[in-house]
Symmetry: C2
Subunit: 137 residues, 2 copies
DNA sequence: CTGTGTGCAAACACTTTGCAGGTGT
DNA sequence: ACACCTGCAAAGTGTTTGCACACAG
């Protein structure tokens, strides 16, 4: 699946900004912040345009946002594109990276009577492989 | 446990703002926003004072913050005071209330090799009992 | 051609900081 | 008496909105 197709499938106009964002986010191994995305894009875009593009892509479930401690905001490609299940997110306290744990499915929580759940967000904080390996050197 | 004791135990000065916040949050059945807390306080306090008080109380693990979608911020009394385990939080999409699910312990997630977890945050979104009951009327 | 996206400026909301004065211990 | 808390003003930061113009379909 390539960026243009994704835009077409969602009846979104093909603009370089949207196309670029999707490309960058789709090829990233980790979730990226606004600045990390900007650095990897060819063109230069206004902040407003970024906000609006992120919003549009989020609304169409092409990318999703991960927020850590109401401070760090990162974006990643959405499940609907990669066809994986709902997954947990991992935040590394050392390198501040955020990763989608595709292989860590979200567990079902047993709620008290009368509560119905629709969606569950899980953020696991700790140390990632890379940082752990560096400690051992 | 009463507000003044909590402050003493943490070597914090007993000011009416801190005492009031603790009282209000401790007696609330749900997590409360800044405004909800203000409405239930007797005195009137500056926003800056609130921010600083929340920060201090958070740092001493007296209250904790729950953030929904990087937008809604609510505060609740912390585990260290109520002596319950780490729990999931529930957000009701209909009435926008946030509740601590004391009886919904956070499950252990199996991470890939090399990852170590320290803390896990779980936010379950759905419909709460009250809203569900209202629908049935 | 028409509707939508973009860039710029301004508005807005939230949060932090500096400082003078007040308060708890 | 002293350290620390508070309120006010100002600055800082992130996000949204209005508008004119550009661009995709």
């Amino acid at each position: 699946m390539i960026a243009v197709e994704i835009l077409n499938n969602n009846n979104l106009k093909r603009t370089s900004c949207r196309e670029g964002i999707i490309d960058v986010v789709m090829n990233a191994k980790q979730a990226l912040s606004e600045n990390e995305i900007r650095d990897r894009l060819v063109g230069n875009y206004d902040r407003t345009t970024f906000y609006r593009s992120f919003k549009t892509l989020e609304e169409h479930k092409i990318i999703h946002k991960i927020v850590v401690d109401n401070q760090l905001i990162k974006y990643a490609i959405d499940n609907t594109i990669t066809h994986t299940d709902e997954h947990a997110h991992f935040y590394c306290n050392e390198c501040n990276s955020v990763q989608c744990m595709e292989n860590v499915p979200i567990q079902k929580y047993q709620l008290p009577d009368g509560y119905s759940d629709v969606e569950t967000e899980v953020l696991i904080k700790g140390t990632c492989v890379n940082c752990k390996n560096q400690e051992n050197n």
